[in-house]
């Protein structure tokens, strides 16, 4: 079992097991415990998996969230893979899952998840993070909250700063 970080900074042991895509011709063997199935396989077997709170899915960075939109309320956990931390597609995927398709379950960042990207992931709606194992998970909580009062609206905040600022300060024209 590995530790994951939650959006409030809690570090906890986690039982979800990530299943890689099986090689061509191989079939997928489900483990005993809760697991994350590649999205296309979950979709292929959705009659079977839907509503099972021990089977979630993971989307790769090139896979569109639209794929799973209609099943969104039957999923206990959705993970989005960052194959490389510099691949930023997962941020849009997360916002769409939350803001457009109304996903309310756990949304997890997996793959090349590093400390300095956690703040962005949190703002885009991820609420758990499988930090890459070589990174110091104890530093994760403070990396989740870098900016106390950001400029933009995002999943975590639907009031951009321009809607929250006070009246125009007279002194500023000086």
């Amino acid at each position: 079992m590995r530790n994951i970080v939650k959006h409030d900074g809690t570090i906890m042991a986690d039982a979800w097991q990530l299943l890689e895509r099986p090689a061509e011709g191989d079939s997928l063997t489900l483990p005993e415990g809760p697991c994350l199935v590649p999205a296309e396989l979950w979709l292929a077997g959705h009659e079977h998996f839907a509503g099972n709170d021990r089977i979630g899915l993971w989307l790769d960075s090139h896979e569109e969230p639209e794929l799973i939109a209609e099943h969104i309320h039957q999923l206990p956990l959705v993970a989005v893979n960052f194959p490389k931390f510099s691949d930023g597609r997962g941020y849009s995927t997360a916002r769409l899952l939350r803001e457009r398709f109304g996903y309310q379950g756990e949304l997890r960042a997996i793959g090349d998840v590093l400390l300095d990207q956690l703040q962005f992931m949190k703002r885009c709606g991820f609420d758990s993070y499988a930090l890459r194992p070589d990174k110091d998970i104890n530093k994760a909580p403070r990396c989740l909250n870098v900016f106390s009062n950001p400029y933009q609206a995002a999943t975590d905040n639907d009031e951009p700063l321009f809607r929250r600022r006070g009246e125009f300060p007279v002194a500023a024209t000086a």
Partner: protein, 550 residues
Amino acid sequence: MYVYDEHDRQLLAERVAQFRDQTDRALAGELSEDEFLPLRLQNGLYVQRLAPMLRMCVPYGMLRSKQLRRLARITRDYDKGYAHFTTRQNVQLNWPALEDVPDILAELAEVEMHANQTSGNCIRNTTTDQFAGVQSDEIADPRPYCEIIRQWSTYHPEFAFLPRKFKVAVNASEYTDRAAIQVHDIGLQMVRNAAGELGFRVHVGGGLGRTPMVGPVIRDFIPELDLLTYLEAILRVYNRYGRRDNKYKARIKILVKALTPEGFAERVEAEWAHIKDSPTRLTRDAIERMKGFFTEPAYEDLQDNPAALETARNDSKAFANWVGRNVDRHKKPGYGIVTLTMKKTGTPPGDVTDRQLEQIADLADQYSFGEVRVTHQQNVVLADVRQDQLFELWQAIRPMGFATANLNTLTDIICCPGGDYCALANAKSIPVAESIQRRFDNLDFLYDLGNIDLNISGCMNACGHHHVGHIGVLGVDKKGEEYYQISLGGASQHDAAIGKILGPSFARDDMPQVIEKLIHVYVDNRTEEEEFLDTYRRIGIAPFKERVYA
């Protein structure tokens, strides 16, 4: 000019603390070079040929005298006593030490400056016309919208890891485009619709670099309140579908071309339909509040062409030349827009010393309400100078080297730092600029030649905007030797065009002579009314080719 409130100050302080922590972890070996790379780039820090390079942000080119003085101090304390104005209205240090950068950023933050997102695959500094707010033909002042875009794009959580860098420019004038918006990832032209409402025409997918393109229009009118949601829709489509497999095909222009502008526009419209009423939609109050920061300074009631100006003009031809070239018409009678040229022959275009930065600050305080603007042509503008003080100002700036009366002429060269400083360059660019400036040192001849944009880049990344120079020069590497390829007919204004390559490239020593031959083709063929670009467009590239390769 925009003034920070406690929110802006807090955000910036948090950013500086964050980068200090990141730098500490990088130096301690907890972050690999690859992992630190985008973090330092998004704080302006490159590692260059000879030393790190720090690109500090000057949002849409505006600086206060206090900020100039701080920049001067930083160049003295952390660098070698000079800085470089870039072609995107920013300022660069060439020799900072990596471990000093957090301190430099803290010093910048004290004067409401930063190096946010001046590099990296994110939304960069939003640029605009250096004459914003003081020219008579603009639709509205673009700067409040630039600041609105700056805030929206700063630390945007969804768009910090785009396929590639992303540049937005805004233009407000109907007749000129000093911001070169059609060669930006997004170019916003302010317009009014038939009902008189303010909005933007949206160009997407322009750019220079390896695949130069003029950005097509994807929407004729987006109302001002919808500006940010529409930008968010464009960025989301790009973030999701832009290519990430090949760095050279990752800019938005490649996506726009692949989908066709119509196809791209459809995707943006479909995305926008979902988010147009989201909280990111601007409010009338937010815009009005922002406009409150860009009010007119305390102008006096004056007349154009005061006697003092007329007398001085008659007495000094050199002064009259300078007024004719380097002073532009101001919307307010009795005022002028002065461009201080940073193009003195023998100094790299855009380079300024710490002392010069302080001199510019003093000039701003004395003559122009304490503010200046940096131009993408690497000059500095005093936007609000009284006409009856022009002569005094001119006398003051001559010994400083800012009065070279060559604005927009052949020797007002746009030039990247090139192989002297930049790790990416194939060839040096500064010595080419200098040799051309030396060859054309007769001002009367330069004035007779009229407006000619000569732009030089040391490699195809095109920081010197060579594609849109009327004459463009590109440094290339031929078997380890530096050569220079020439293109003709580029333009960056409303008539934007990408220049056509003349033919085989030239050795550096031949460049002044080659440019001279090109100029003579123009002189021999022009009609009375024609500028260089007009003649080129009429007669085509062939006569130039024949003369140069004869």
